[in-house]
Amino acid sequence: MILHDSEPVRDWLDAMAAALRPLVAADPGIGLVGIRRGGVDVARHLHAALGIELPLAELDVAFYRDDFDRVGLHPVVGPSDVPFDLDERHLVLVDDVLGTGRTVRAAMNELFDHGRPARITLAVLVERRGHELPIRADVVGREIDARDDEYVELDAATMTVRVGRRDELSAVTSP
């Protein structure tokens, strides 16, 4: 298992903020949307670093996932919280790990049920191989070349990123 500890991860976040700063400067009304839960943790750091005016929006995509007919209803954290009007707005959609792209698709579907954004910029902490949909991030903290049988996950409490084998997961449950 490879562990990227908090120092490098913080560097990636700084890189993302640097890439987004010009957008924010050009449009102070920009809205930041984090995808629960890992995307929200990343978005909080960016929200603070960029000094965005609007409050952070949080999306729970449980109701928009495309695997309902296979795995049932994903546990819901709570209702999505979008505290500003989306219409005609530039949004930055934030997630922790971009892999197949299905979560982002679900998030976009949900966003469009809230309103009609003018533009969506996708920012992810980690982009990895394995795209199944034509979705690519505009801003990436770090590309990680993990194999299909490996997982990549953010530990928000310590702000570290782990890469490991999926079949070892059962051992990697609690702290």
């Binding site: 795995v71 049932g72 209803l73 546990p75 819901v76 209702p79 997630d95 809230h114 999926r166």
Partner: protein
């Protein structure tokens, strides 16, 4: 009891919603938590999610109830399901076609879920045992036995205001004997571990051995209301008001009606609840029903989220169980573990690996803060 309960699957997944008696606190909480998520949907401009797109929900109402039927209809619509309203009150069943014949015809229409409202206690259980395995049955009220979605939305309402159940004193007042709402509420309150459930009403309106339901009986409403946190009124049906059970609505109000004076005996922040429609001046004073402590209208709102949660959870659980079984049958690797949301997430193909324990435990409380390791 030697008959299998059709409501729960072999690993505790919810296959139907028939009553609240046998659902444990974990299951009730899961439903309430899921409903929490759906409240967001009902607040925005596009009040729809695609979860049940392509599925058909049939309302089988053998008894009239515009209120309950429209609530289920709205919930199904907001899940993007198609609705079939089958009016069985005036249709073939009155011509002598048996309930079973009617069910066979409806099965042939290939619906995914039946919402059933019937005058016989046990009707939903009967239908669940009789129809094709693949059809989900949700009890919309069966005789005096149960109204589980009402019980759930009542619990949801209480939780929204009081946050916890274990220190609550809840008073259920009125015609408990004939009330399916009362039975579902009492079952849920007891399971969720409230401090005390008190029932109050004239003996003619209390069922035999009512204490065996886990309640304390009060002949006097005033005494029951002291320190109450929640007061749940029940509808007194017209036919009871002038028969041999209760002499008149006026006498009922005098003895067991929730007047403003009586309300003041309870805690100042006590909730006033009622499944509706209220008989003002009989069970409850108009000023109390419309007053600041009343959450009666709120209950109706939460009813939509609760029904959305129930329908999507059951259909979702069944889908995940089926997928696990199919994967197991095909000998797919990694398709191990129990079904149910987290287990299922660990299950099939692309999603192998699933949640690193985090989501299995329920999410907000996970101290490690693992991101989901679903495909991203």
């Amino acid at each position: 009891m030697s008959l299998r309960d059709p409501q729960l699957g072999p690993d505790g997944t919810l296959r139907h919603l028939l009553d609240l008696d046998r659902l444990d606190a974990a299951m009730l909480t899961r439903i309430l938590d899921t409903a929490e998520g759906f409240t967001g949907v009902n607040d925005r401009s596009i009040r729809k999610v695609p979860l049940l797109r392509g599925k058909t929900v049939a309302n089988l109402f053998f008894e009239n109830s515009t209120r309950t039927r429209t609530a289920f209809e709205l919930a199904a619509t907001r899940l993007s399901a198609d609705i079939l309203n089958v009016d069985l009150v005036t249709s073939s069943t009155t011509k002598g076609e048996s309930l079973l014949d009617t069910l066979r015809v409806l099965e042939a229409l290939q619906c995914d879920l039946f919402v059933v409202r019937h005058g016989d206690a046990g009707a939903a259980h009967f239908i669940a045992r009789q129809v094709d395995e693949a059809i989900v049955v949700v009890n919309g009220g069966d005789g005096r036995h149960g109204h589980p979605t009402q019980g759930l939305l009542d619990m949801f309402t209480i939780r929204r205001h009081k946050q916890r159940f274990d220190d609550l004193v809840v008073v259920v007042v009125g015609d408990i004997r004939h009330s399916r709402v009362a039975r579902s509420d009492i079952a849920a309150l007891v399971t969720l571990g409230v401090a005390e459930v008190r029932v109050a009403g004239p003996r003619t309106l209390l069922p035999a051995e009512v204490e065996s339901l886990g309640v304390r009986v009060f002949d006097d409403l005033d005494t029951a209301l002291v320190d109450a946190d929640v007061i749940m009124g029940l509808r007194l049906q017209k036919e009871r008001m002038s028969g041999a059970t209760v002499p008149s609505g006026a006498e009922f109000y005098r003895t067991f009606g929730l007047s403003p004076e009586r309300l003041s005996l309870a805690k100042p922040d006590a909730l006033v609840m009622h499944p509706g429609p209220t008989n003002r001046g009989v069970e409850i004073a108009a000023s109390v029903a419309d007053g600041p402590q009343s959450v009666i209208l709120e209950q109706v709102t939460w009813g939509i989220a609760i029904r959305m949660a129930v329908m999507s959870m059951i259909i979702g659980d069944r889908a995940s169980v089926a997928a696990v079984e199919a994967a197991g049958a095909a000998g797919a690797a990694g398709a191990a573990g129990p079904a149910g949301p987290a287990g299922a997430a660990r299950a099939a193909g692309d999603y192998a690996g699933g949640d690193a324990g985090g989501d299995a435990g329920g999410d907000a409380g996970d101290s490690v803060g693992h991101s989901t390791v679903f495909d991203r």
